[in-house]
């Protein structure tokens, strides 16, 4: 058997596996939504159309996502321009702090906001105490609360994409524009913005998809305000499984529509990839007053960005039941952390999340590597299909995939490729794996594309076989891409809430679920301690990823 045949067989097997794992569950969801006890039916679609709050939830999802894009762009883009163009005191430190929200997993960010701005959070207690109010001054609820959290956590996408886009612009472009008589505004409009379009569209797409799929914020803050992901979970809890399928399909449709509208977007996990230009010289801000204003605004911003992290840290030292109406907690203790380590029941979610995320990440990296080598290096015919399947879970909200997997693997029909995994140890790692695949495979693909194929040929002409080439040449050179993809995947799986809440079992309960249950028992200290652990591990993994991932 020659190497070509072997590649083709491997590609066929991989394609079949991915189709079974990713496409098949989604197709089953569609089928169930259009299939009743008496055969094919549109009953559930009619039911969906007939209920007012279904349309309302879909509309809410749409406008919340669009509003999030606008808010995130409004914060992220100007910040990126500011750091790219101007020099001011503290610029270096601040430009590092700007990415801080990225180390807060979704649910952790939400509870940090709850402790900080919620009705019994620091700020509202402080205001209440200052002005001697009887009632909390505001309630952190509904669309406004969701948008606040979204804007905080998602402007980072716009910031990073815009910075990367700006970094690829060469100073010579601006000199050329100036020498052709273009003023500052014309240069911005005719040169900078068109060149920045792929980056901006990429930021918009990522923000829109994340906001559309966002579950934690609407789940905690929504109250009566439903968006589609929370609506799906509620419908499913009611037992209206088929209606949930139609809801799932409608949400998927919305996601695919966005993908189509923004098809010129640069879709990359590592927006910094690509050509680097020589940046134009920074413009120092000279006027004393302007410097003071910028410094004040800058440090104010840093404080706002850091407050959720600090809040979480502070609350994690609060003993259970001691903090009620005081603006600051009256007592502090190490006990919450000790509990996490010493109490086997409390320590379990931590270990669960660790092994689930590690396992799912390793397998996702291996599959991404195999897929990348087959489709980009060996150029097998199924390569395009393999890469599309791998990207699919990115375009489909997590709730949708959770439903799809729960549907596909709740029936024992081995001949139809279905086994019962729901309620077992395996469903959650499988779900994490599906959600991780786009992250790792895209990183591997980008890494492989950047590698000169003649390196492989050089190894072959020097007598190195396939494995030796992989081990000695390809893997070492891919390391930055592998580490980047793996750390992103690990952090996503480690902090996952949206798929976990629908698929976890008692034995696999992850940290996020334990945070939720601690919160329900008003044990804010332990909830925050879990949150701090999540945050610290995420930050550490990102730091290692950045360190290892940088070439050289």
């Amino acid at each position: 058997m020659n190497s070509r045949t072997r590649s083709t067989i491997a590609a066929g097997l991989l394609l079949a596996f991915l189709a079974w794992l990713i496409l098949y569950p989604l197709v089953l969801v569609l089928i169930e939504g259009f299939h009743g006890p008496n055969g094919w039916t549109l009953d559930f679609v009619r039911q969906f159309m007939g209920r007012k709050h279904e349309a309302q939830a879909l509309w809410n999802s749409l406008w919340i996502s669009v509003a999030t894009v606008v808010l995130a762009a409004g914060i992220g883009v100007p910040l990126a321009f500011l750091f790219w163009r101007f020099d001011f005191p503290g610029r270096k430190v601040l430009s590092g702090l700007v990415a801080l929200p990225a180390v807060l997993p979704p649910l952790v960010g939400v509870i940090a906001f709850l402790f900080l701005y919620g009705e019994s959070g620091f700020t509202s207690l402080l205001v209440q105490w200052l002005f001697r109010l009887d009632e909390p001054p505001w309630r952190l609820q509904g669309a406004a609360a969701i948008l606040l959290v979204h804007a905080y956590s998602m402007y980072v996408y716009f910031y990073l994409f815009t910075r990367a886009g700006l970094a690829s612009l060469d100073a010579a472009l601006f000199e050329a524009a100036a020498s052709l008589g273009a003023g500052r505004w014309r240069t911005l409009r005719r040169v900078v913005l068109p060149l920045l379009y792929p980056a901006l569209a990429g930021g918009a797409l990522l923000t829109f998809m994340t906001a559309l799929a966002s579950f934690s914020a609407p789940y905690i803050f929504g109250g009566g305000f439903r968006v589609m992901p929370t609506q799906i979970v509620a419908t499913r809890l009611n037992g209206d499984d088929q209606l949930a399928m139609i809801e799932t399909a409608s949400l998927t449709l919305l996601a695919l529509l966005a993908l189509w509208l923004l098809r010129g977007a640069r879709v990359a996990d590592n927006p910094a990839g690509g050509r680097k230009g020589v940046p134009p010289a920074l413009v120092p801000i000279r006027s004393r007053a302007a410097r003071a204003v910028v410094a004040l605004l800058g440090w104010g911003l840093a404080l706002v960005l850091l407050l959720p992290h600090l809040t979480l840290l502070l609350v994690s030292f609060v003993p259970v039941g001691t903090w009620t109406t005081e603006p600051l907690p009256p007592a502090y203790t190490w006990r919450n952390y000790l509990t996490l380590v010493q109490d086997p029941v409390r320590a379990r979610p931590l270990l669960n999340s660790l092994w689930l995320a590690t396992g799912a990440t390793l397998v996702a990296v291996a599959i991404g590597l195999l897929a990348g080598i087959l489709s980009i290096r060996q150029r097998v015919r199924a390569g395009g299909a393999i890469q599309s399947l791998l990207a699919l879970p990115w375009a489909v909200p997590g709730t949708v995939f959770a439903i799809a997997l729960a549907t596909a693997f709740s029936v024992h029909a081995p001949l139809a490729g279905r086994v019962i995994l729901v309620g077992t140890l395996w469903i959650l790692p499988l779900a994490y794996l599906v959600r991780n695949l786009p992250l790792t495979s895209r990183a591997v693909a980008a890494g492989l594309r950047a590698l000169d194929p003649s390196l492989d040929e050089a190894a072959a002409s020097l007598g190195a076989g396939r494995w030796r080439t992989l081990r000695r040449v390809t893997l070492p050179l891919l390391r930055p891409a592998l580490v980047a993809g793996a750390s992103l995947a690990f952090v996503t799986a480690f902090g996952d809430f949206v798929t976990s809440i629908m698929l976890y079992t008692y034995d696999t309960r992850p940290i996020s679920l334990e945070i939720l249950s601690s919160l329900r028992q008003s044990d804010v200290g332990v909830a925050a301690a879990y949150g701090v652990v999540l945050m610290a591990v995420s930050a550490a993994v990102f730091a290692v990823g950045a360190e290892q991932g940088s070439p050289g």
Binding site: S3, D452, S454, L455, E457, A458, A459, A460, S461, L462, G463, A464, G465, R468, R472, V473, P476, L477
Partner: protein
Amino acid sequence: MSFLRLERLSKRFGGTVAVDQVSLALNRGEMLALLGPSGSGKTTTLRLLAGFEIPDSGRVLVEQDDVTGLEPVARRFGMVFQHYALFPHLNVGQNVAFGLESLSVRGEELQRRVARALALVDLAGFAERRIGQLSGGQQQRVALARALAPEPRVLLLDEPLSNLDPALRERTRREIRELIRRVGITTVFVTHEQEEAFDLGDRVAVLRAGRLEQVGTPEDLYAMPATEFVAEFVGRSSSIPVTVLGPGQRGLRVSFESVEWELNDLSPAAAPAGPARMVVRPEALRLLPPAPGTINGVVRERRFTGSASLYTVVTDGGASLEVSGPPRAVAAGDRTGILPSRRAGGGIHLFPAQAG
């Protein structure tokens, strides 16, 4: 008995024929240049040799050994890539050792052979350097050392000089030539630059659109081009349409723009009577004041090249001819006449006019 033979090699990519029935034979230790414009199939031919592409038909033989279907790994052909393809995560010594390790060379023997290969390219003591610390010329020599270290049967070079800046090229060319002579390895290299092909190649194979146009020594190609393409591609020349009138007293009579020339270098058998294309080297023509029998025109441009100048003359009929002459024979804008040099020395070739 030739050492390396390519027998009627063909390769298509989709609908296009990249290599079309190419046959070549090299003696042991010979250096062959594959010369042609881009898209001529020279790189594909080299990749067929290396085993990176499998031919649709034809064979590659080393002595009596048919290697056509052999994986690159098993061929024991060394290759120097256009962008060198040095492994950036390994240092110079590790790069050179890579192919030796494939042959299970270990320990002291490995060290010795790495050192010897590096000494061969004048990079003794560079083993610990990182690839990124080397200049372009040094990288090229490391690539050569790496390819030569396992003592391959054949050395393949893909555009070996294209990545160097022009000032370095001539010196590097000389170094490569000397090195390969010293090692005595049978070598095939690809280039699109005629000067490189002539300087390095014992023989040159000219390719065009996947077909072999002609193979021969540089002198043969220059003096006896087999086709109009070779005549134009190899060396400077101008090509003009003429009418062959037939044999005269001293040579072949041709007419061009109502002027008649008798070309004494050409045998009457060079072309049948009728329309033809005449390819002329600049040194096969001379400039003189317009007179009976001269082709007349206006000097459009003069390019000074040191010992002589190249004049571009646009004839009254609108054709363009390049003529070599003394540095300041005429100035741009002058009217001039053109005649064949007294000793054209094989600089004028006639080819049957192509249809269309």
